[in-house]
Symmetry: C3
Subunit: 157 residues, 3 copies
């Protein structure tokens, strides 16, 4: 079994409790062998790691780390859906990264790499993915980054 | 059969004629058992319910209602594709909500709930979905909200 | 076999070398019979065709042509994945178009048509797709347009 908790610990990261399901939408939906994960914010212990636009209010480095935290939260959400068996992850298919950006800022890829690299470190070959990174002028709770995901899993035995 | 028209009527809403297909893209594409619905604007009787950025030009309440209208238009598009048999909807898989926002506005979830709650009321358990809500500085025709959807359906008998 | 190179040539366009895979993400991921193509920028011979916001820094016509170039680059990426056999493309399923926009600009559909029409010309019926076009205030490298794609293919014989 893929021990994601240990991998994250070795990277100095903690696997959080997954975000509680809310009434009107859910963190993860399964459709056939696809999981779609709702947009995740860079919450750590109940606080946003980075708020405001990049780079004026949050630096590229801060936003990169925030993107990594979004990815950690995505992993937690997937784990809750799969009862902790992340070895069922066949492929991270698509990663969408929204970066709250100053007008005309062009460094979204550097920010998004925080999420992409973490997924690669945790899932190896299965962590390779297609990606779209775009800038936006506003995100929920004024977060600097939001990450959404599509994952292919293998059916349970 | 799921009587979506009656459900909407009970909510005081009218099922519109679906938007006419245009030359270069279509309202709904089916790929296997997935339907992908093009981004829908909050059109009602040929007019946008809300235009401009939230909250300066359109209030959160107005935008929430506009998001609900987008969802109604999505439902109309799905119905046209399924020849009116919405009971073939197995699962609303993913809802993407773009909210035209003032810089740094963080209330996209409250706006997006207008779409999510309507889908839940109409489709019940099948209406639960993953969601990404983001802010943007511009949308087609200066609309305040745009909603896109991915849906899983069951094959026709 | 669908001769995409000839079709593009007849349109006065050149099929570029596909963008090289980078470390942390890849241009195309296959999941079952779905291909997901990473967001493509309007690169032509190593330069962006259009930068800055539409319409103040790049005109609608320039951005429309840039969107067409994004689509050409998407086609190149798909070709690299399919070893040049574009006849395996069953359906362009979804096209997402992000247009760097001045605040409140509402002409994203005219820009996005550059991509949609090119896909229709190249793939015919298989090129019909669902589409979402939105405005954003910033894109990677300050590009004026970014295009992402989901495609359904048939399995190799």
């Amino acid at each position: 079994m893929l021990d994601v908790k240990a991998k994250l610990a070795a990277m100095g990261r903690t696997l959080p409790e997954p975000v509680k399901p809310v009434a009107v939408y859910v963190p993860v939906i399964q459709s056939g062998d696809l999981l779609v994960v709702s947009g995740q914010l860079p919450m750590r212990e109940g606080k946003l790691l980075a708020t405001g636009a990049v780079p004026s209010a949050a630096s590229i480095d801060e936003a990169n780390e925030a993107a990594a935290q979004c990815a950690v939260n995505v992993i937690a959400a997937i784990g809750a859906h799969l009862a902790g068996d992340w070895s069922r992850v066949l492929q991270i298919v698509r990663v969408g990264v929204f970066v709250q950006s100053d007008d005309g800022f062009g460094g979204q890829p550097q920010v998004a790499n925080g999420a992409s690299e973490l997924l690669g470190e945790v899932f190896g070959e299965s962590g390779r993915h297609a990606r779209s990174a775009v800038g936006v002028n506003a995100l929920p709770l004024n977060a600097s980054v939001e990450v959404e995901l599509m994952v292919r899993i293998k059916e349970a035995d």
